[in-house]
């Protein structure tokens, strides 16, 4: 994002800060994941100057094991100007920007509810369950996040998922939807490429190895690594094709696919 940030990113960052401030009492058990976390890592090294087409939601992953019963998440969000959206876990601020509260599948309680997470005292509507976020509870680091609007001087320090966890989460999202093409966002694959480009292969492999060693994240990480080759292993793989489309007309499609397959093959090599 060279130059002045796109207004869409300014709004998204502002909504993120609204939510972080509202949930301040629980911030130590929350990790920022998703596209906003990825942009914090890739920053200005981003090679793809794609125009934002829709608002980037702020995705929060909650660790329910360490979450205290009060104050209630829903009360804090309502007080902070959010209203509950149509889907479990979706909270909308006054500008219409969404913040999604999510709980890693392995910790989301009874599977009777397909989408919502059971957060006991906090209820079953406040957050939704998502597979692949387990890794974010282990691979994360505190970062200072500031507003992008120059007239907004807010900033907050919160946990941001590391590149290993973000990669695992993105791969799960793409793999889950690979057979429902209409729900796929091409941008998700470009985000994978951004992560692969912005992180040293050795660093990424080290993070994934740690995730493989922990009981909580071992199985989702194994599954993600197994999905690397079918999704991104060759120029005609679905994930590579998605990234090419998302990179837009300004990017050389051959470069996008060659880079992606090269970086994936480097990563797999580093993991053996």
């Amino acid at each position: 994002m060279p130059g002045a940030p796109d207004p869409i990113y300014i709004d998204a960052r502002s909504a993120l800060l609204d939510a972080a401030n509202a949930l301040f009492d629980h911030l130590d058990v929350i990790v920022l994941v998703g596209a906003q976390a990825i942009y914090l890592h890739t920053g200005e090294a981003d090679l793809f100057d794609t125009v934002a087409q829709y608002t980037t939601d702020a995705d929060f992953s909650i660790n329910p094991n360490d979450l205290s019963d009060s104050p209630l998440l829903a009360d804090l969000l309502t007080k902070g100007g959010f209203r509950a959206g149509d889907n479990p876990g979706s909270w909308i601020n006054s500008n219409g920007v969404a913040v999604d509260l999510m709980v890693p599948e392995a910790l989301a309680g009874s599977k009777r509810h397909r989408r919502s997470a059971d957060l006991l005292a906090h209820g079953k509507r406040v957050a939704r369950r998502a597979k692949g976020l387990e890794a974010a509870l282990l691979d994360h680091q505190p970062m200072i996040i500031s507003a992008l609007d120059l007239t907004d001087n807010r900033s907050v320090t919160m946990n941001v998922a590391g590149p290993g966890a973000l990669l695992v989460a993105k791969i799960h999202k793409i793999a889950e939807r690979a057979d429902e093409l209409n729900r796929l966002s091409h941008k998700d694959s470009l985000d994978v490429l951004r992560l692969l480009q912005a992180t040293e292969t050795a660093d990424l492999a080290e993070r994934l190895k740690k995730l493989l060693d922990d009981e909580l994240s071992a199985s989702v990480t194994t599954e993600a690594i197994q999905n690397l080759t079918p999704l991104f292993g060759s120029a005609d793989a679905v994930g590579v094709q998605m990234a090419v489309r998302a990179a837009g007309p300004g990017a050389d499609p051959d470069f996008v696919s060659a880079s992606m397959t090269a970086l994936v093959s480097d990563l797999l090599m580093a993991l053996t």
Binding site: Q197, D254, A258, M260
Partner: protein, 359 residues
Amino acid sequence: MPTQEMPREIDIIRNAERTLASTLPTGWSIREANQRVRAGDAQLDLLIEVLAPNGERAELAIETKRTIEPRVVPRVLDRLAMYCTGDLSDAVPVVAAAYLSPRSREILDSAGVGYIDMAGNVRIEVSQPGLFISSTGVDRDPWPQDSDLQSLKGRGAARAVRAIIDHTPPFGIRELAATSGASAPTLSRVVELLDREGIVTRETRGPVLTVDWEAAIRRWAADYAQSTSNTPMTFLEPRGLPAVLEKLDEADPVYAATGAFAAQSFDPIAPAKTATLYVEDAARFADRLKLREIETSANVILLEPFDPVVFDRTIWRGGLRCVAPSQLCVDLLTGPGREPSQGEEMLRWMQENEDAWRS
């Protein structure tokens, strides 16, 4: 053809007449005027009348020469001007020769003088009656003189031409050889070639007095090509060109950037999509920077250079070590894609910043 003997003056005259007769539009004709045209002791070689279908006529005052090296073109022009006075003040001056080099044709053209050679190059423009004949033949002398250097191909000649462009005259050959590391005999032969082409002037057996450096670069570009004079290998840096810059910074290897990658530090309008770097040993360099060899979709091109001279007089621009502007210019003019037009931009930059690259 090279074994053929140099055409005689009479062959050149016959060729000029034949060429005119065969290229005139239908209804036009020519005839040799029997008038003798003199200027002092000299006599014009050929005066031809051109007749238009409507009865209008024009005269072509033709001076023949077996060879015309660009440096003697001004003298030929002076002589033609002497003939084209009085009765003949409306006559169109034309030079006929066995072979006219592109540079000679360019000079004649800009002086408004027509030409006909035996290698198929013709340009005649008559305003009254209106007539325009133009065709391009070959750009190589079919009758080269064995003793003369004919091209700037080859590492020695290229190294010498770099030295001649990069140094401000006047300079002697020995002196230039000592400061540039080019061999004195090669320098001397290259200076002779550029002298014949009207690109340098020198005192007889003395120092070089002037160098038209832009013409020298263009002349060099005619015999040079970025991708064939050097040996290229293609690679992929999957993290893109910012990662290439970072690695160059960290590893600090011996390299010199050229092409669009270097040009963007002079003219940032066109961001490069490929990094082209001169390196001594492409395979070792790629190993060190962890680039992967790839045939298509490469974004890094490593060139093993025609001569180590590409590493001489490099300049730092925005954290990148770039080849000397003269080298960059010839690489761009003969490079892929939009690079030739960036080469023209580079020539302009060199004109405006001569102090920055010439000494």
